[in-house]
Symmetry: C2
Subunit: 356 residues, 2 copies
Amino acid sequence: MKIHNFSAGPSILPESTIKNSADAVLNFAGTGLSLLEVSHRSKEFVAVMDDAIALVKELLDLPAGYEVVFVGGGASTQFCMVPFNLLAKKAAYLNTGAWAAKAIKEAKGFGEVVEVASSKDAVYNYIPKGYEVPSDADYFHITTNNTIYGTEIRKDLDVSVPLVADMSSDIFSRPIDVSKYNIIYAGAQKNLAPSGVTIAIVKEDALGKMDRHIPTMLDYRTHIDKGSMFNTPPVFPVYSALQTLKWLKENGGVAAMEKINIEKAGILYDEIDRNKLFKCTVEAAEDRSIMNVCFIMNDEYKELEKDFFDFATSKGMSGIKGHRSVGGFRASIYNAMPKSSVQALIDSMKEFEAKH
Amino acid sequence: MKIHNFSAGPSILPESTIKNSADAVLNFAGTGLSLLEVSHRSKEFVAVMDDAIALVKELLDLPAGYEVVFVGGGASTQFCMVPFNLLAKKAAYLNTGAWAAKAIKEAKGFGEVVEVASSKDAVYNYIPKGYEVPSDADYFHITTNNTIYGTEIRKDLDVSVPLVADMSSDIFSRPIDVSKYNIIYAGAQKNLAPSGVTIAIVKEDALGKMDRHIPTMLDYRTHIDKGSMFNTPPVFPVYSALQTLKWLKENGGVAAMEKINIEKAGILYDEIDRNKLFKCTVEAAEDRSIMNVCFIMNDEYKELEKDFFDFATSKGMSGIKGHRSVGGFRASIYNAMPKSSVQALIDSMKEFEAKH
C-alpha cells in the first residue's frame, strides 16, 4: 500500500532528495567514500555548500547585500540569535502561535518586547490584523506559517520597520520580497531537508550594531565570513538540502510551487467546506495555510473522529492526527506532497462520508 | 583499490553505521517511510533517541546524577554553553591547541579566565605539566585530544576543581572516570557519527547556580528535561550515532577499544621512530595521541614530502595530509579504523623507504 506522508515535520521530501541522499551515504560524488566520513573541507563537499548557498540566492532572488548561512541548532536557536544580533532596545512581535510565543519569550531576555497583537484567546485560529507596529522598534518579528493551527501570512507585510520572519514551515512555498526583511530563518525539516540544519537569510547591513557581547557561534557574521564553514557544518542535512534545491529549480522554482500549492490546498479546503462531516478550524480564507490544513469533525459527528482516523490510516494516510491543542486532523502538504496524495485524502473523506 | 580513510574529521565510521544509515534513508524501521521524513515524535524515533542515551550511559559507565544530551551546533557552540552554565566568576583553561584557544576566547566573554599553561610556543607539540589550577576556579577546562598536533591527555586528571573536557576527538576511545567531570562534550564527527550532532554528559548538580540569563537553547537543563527533544533534534545524525554505539558494545566497549587503539597507534609510532625518512612531531611518548598520529619528513629527506604523499595516495591512503600549521602527515586512526589499514600505511612507508 502506498503511504501518503502528511507529517507536520520532519516531513515529506522529494523522492530524488531521498534517493540521492541514500546513494551518497554509500558513495559520495564518486569518491568511493561515504558522505558520512568525508572531510567538510574536501573539494567535493565545498562544492555542495557553495551550490546550496547559490541556489537559495537564485530561487529566492536575493537582492545585493543579503547573505545565506546554513547553521545547526534549529529555529529554536534562532529565537535567541535574532535578538542577540538585532535587538538594541525594543522589538515588536506578532503572537500567532506556540512557536511565535517561544520567540517572544527568548527576546525578552534581551530588551523591551512589544507584543503588537495575539490570537491566543481563539487558539490561534486566525492571523491578527489592524495592529500598530511601534516605529521605533528595531524589527518586527512574524511567524509566517503556524504549523499547529493551519494559519499563514502569505504576503510580505508593509510595516514601518524591517521584518524578521520565522519561515520554518513555508520557506520556498512562494516568492518572497526579501528586501522587506532583515532576517529570514527556517529550520530545514519541512520544505527543504531532514532536521539538523537551519537556513538564515541575513541583510548584512543590519549586523554589527550591538553593544553587547555576542558569542562567536551566535553571531551571524561568523558564519557569513566563513561561508557556513566556521566549524564543521551538518554535512548530511546540507547535502540533502542541495538535492531539494535542485528539485525546486527543475520544477519551476518558487513561483511554480506557489501555483501548485494553492491548487493542492484549494481542493482540500473545498472538500472540507463541502463535506458534512468536517469543518476547517480556520474561518478566514485569507488566513488559511497552504502548507498545513487543519480540520475537525463537525459538532454532530464528533464521535466519528477516531473512526475516520482509523479509516484514513487504513487507506494509507500517515501523520494526519491534529496537534493536541487543536484536536482533529492536520494534513501537511508541503512542496514535495504530490497532488495525487491530496486527492487520496479527499477520496477517503468522501468515501467515509458516504458511509455515514 | 581499497581506500583507507585517515581523514581527521568527519572521518571513518564503522561499516555497519554506514550501511544501516543508508538503509534507513530508504525505509526506516519498517515504516515504509524514509528516516529523513518521519516525525521525531514517532514511536520509532523516540526509541532511537532513548536507546542512544541509554547506550552512552552504559558504555561510559555514568554514575548517578549525570545526564546525556544530544544537541546541534557543534562543539564550537559548547565553547559558550559551558561558561553560560558554569562560569560564575573564574574558570581555568589549559591551552593545548587551536580548539582549546577558541574555547578560552569564548569563556572570556563570561568572566575571569586563567590560562594555567600553554604549549603554543612549541606549536602545541606537547601537553604542559606542572601547572597549578586555582582552587577557587569554577572548573578546569581541558581538550583531551588535539587533533591538529597529535597530542592527547589520556588520563583523567587529578585537580582540586571539577573538570570540563572537550573530548570531540577521543570520546569512546578509552574508559573515563566520569565522576571527575562536570561536563564532557564532543562533536560527534570523529568516533561516533556524521557531523551535525554533539553529545554532552552533564553533572546535574553543577547546573542552576548562575545569576545570568541563559537563553533556553543554551541551557543544558532544557535538553535534559526534555530528553533531547525540546525541539526537533538532528534525527539522521542521532540515528547514525546509535548504530556506532551498538557497534561499540558488540565489539567489547571502550575498554576493548582502548586496547586495540593502543596497539594500532603503537605499531605506527614504532614505524615512524624506526623509519629513517620520518619523525614524529610529538616527542614525549605519554603525550602521543592514539587517535591522530602526526609525523613529518626527517630534515635530510624534506624534499621527499610531496613524493611520499603521492606514493601513499597511489596506494589508497586518503586524508593523510598534515594540518598546515604542523605540515607533513597526519594519520587519524579512530575507533573504526581497522588495524589492516594502519598496516597498509606502514607498508607504504617501508616500501617508500626502500626506494630511497
